[in-house]
Amino acid sequence: MSQPALYERLVFKNASVYHYLKIYLILDNDDRKINAVYFKQMIISALRDLYGEIGAAFPFDVLKFEEDTLTAVLRVYNSGLVKLWTALTLLGSYQSEPCAVHVTQVSPFLLALSGNSRELELD
């Protein structure tokens, strides 16, 4: 049996290179279906509209997309957070039908998105 570990402490300030967003999409037309690929395409074109080819040229990931609830978790580099978020906010239509994207939670830690106390409903 090895010796118990020696105490060690590390402090990381702003070490997370990513931010994570939990979002949901509302479509005016309830019957319309959308999958993860189209969903990402939609966000990319929203980014391109607002920031153009250069401004929108940053990667982001759709970590999760649920087709039935239209909720998603995105991952983006810190430098792209504000741009991605504003593009989502100003997204007003998808294939010429009105839509809206709301951001429910933003965090530099993906784990934090799994425990949002604002979702606690006891009534």
């Binding site: 060690e8 402090v11 702003n14 965090s107």
Partner: protein, 361 residues
């Protein structure tokens, strides 16, 4: 290009490595000081069925109460102070109040009452407090801390009377509260109900859920390599993976994949199954502590996995995070910690906070 749009708010992550066998290990203090816990989730790789010990610890989690429209001064009444607060281990947090918008109150087990109030209320109250650290241009939020164990606030005293007058007559502060009290026998809970019998009071139990995960990639962790130089992944990658697994995300994508490029960090190994147990509610630090003690014993028998993890999320709208450190809400009020327990009783502790929060202890 647009530099003004490329900044983002700060965050902190503190990682500690020690052993549960160390006399000076501070893990118990860290757990005890994180007062208001919203959710705990345990992940055990290579585990198919919930161990009976774990199940019984989860089932023994304290009940908590939802009190409607409780005036804040009720928390300061002499009877309540004597019978409940001074006995310790009482936790109360205002419910459905948002720390960045509303008046928020908390009663800490140490007997401190914290009133995080807006400027108008603060001025009307006329109680001594200090401006919140997280104000903009002008202070709009103030924090009043009343230490009820302090002699100067003893019932009957001048200061006590003034506080009661302020809360009873000047501004009738009321709120819904979540309240819980830890007691070994379990009789302390009836006491709460009897004291607040005139208010609507609902008894609640933390809600549990268990999930079995199949065929997943797990990072390999080496207890000596907290930093993640070669034998483990770095703490941030680990936490990201833990989040991805908890939220059931795909962790095996190609770098060229269109939708997501996320991958389980290296070094990794595959596990045929894993167990994920969660509890949600107002969870007491004492209960979290007994959960940890139980999980320690998990390694008494030979296991396939060399580690397991426990994540505890704090309330985003609590006025404190660790101890009496002021906590706020900027874009998200994250405050959580994750224990990684190893076979040899070593542990890692990752504590994270967001923007409007102090540094974890």
């Amino acid at each position: 290009m647009f530099t003004n749009l490329e900044k983002c708010p700060r965050n902190l992550l503190v990682c500690e490595k020690s052993s549960l066998l160390n006399d000076k290990s501070r893990h118990a203090t860290h757990v005890a000081k994180h007062f208001f816990n919203y959710k705990v989730s345990v992940l055990i790789p290579e585990c198919g069925i919930t161990p009976s010990g774990l199940k019984s610890v989860f089932n023994s989690f304290s009940k908590y109460y939802l009190l409607r429209n409780l005036p804040v001064y009720k928390l300061l009444e002499e009877e309540f102070l004597e019978k409940v607060v001074k006995k310790g281990s009482l936790y109360a947090l205002s419910y459905k109040t948002r720390i960045d918008q509303d008046n928020t109150f908390a009663l800490l087990p140490s007997g401190q009452v914290i009133l995080s109030v807006d400027k108008d209320t603060y001025e009307e109250l006329g109680l001594e407090g200090k401006a919140s650290q997280y104000n903009h241009r002008q202070p709009m939020r103030y924090v009043v801390t009343l230490d009820m164990t302090d002699k100067s606030l003893a019932p009957g005293g001048k200061r006590y009377k003034r506080v009661m007058w302020a809360l009873q007559e000047k501004v009738q502060l009321t709120s819904d509260f979540l309240m819980a009290r830890y007691s070994i026998g379990g009789n302390g809970e009836d006491l709460l109900q009897s004291i607040f019998s005139q208010y609507s009071c609902r008894e609640l139990r933390p809600s549990m859920s268990t999930q079995s995960l199949r065929d997943l990639l797990c990072p390999s962790l080496d207890p000596t390599d907290l930093h993640g130089d070669s034998r483990s992944c770095d703490p941030l990658q680990f936490l990201e993976w833990l989040g991805a697994v908890t939220m059931d995300m795909s962790c095996n994508n190609e770098a060229s994949s269109f939708v997501s490029t996320y991958c389980c960090p290296e070094p990794q190994s595959s596990a045929s199954q894993a167990l994920l147990c969660t509890a949600v509610g107002l969870l007491l630090p004492e209960d979290i502590h007994s959960l940890l003690e139980e999980l320690r014993r998990y390694f008494d028998e030979p296991r396939f996995t060399s580690w397991l993890s426990v994540t505890v999320h704090g309330f985003a709208d609590s006025p404190v995070s660790w101890g009496a450190t002021e906590h706020g809400f900027h874009k998200g009020g994250e405050n959580f910690y994750t224990f990684v327990l190893f076979k040899n009783q070593d542990y890692w502790l990752h504590m994270a906070t967001g923007t409007n929060d102090g540094c974890p202890p």
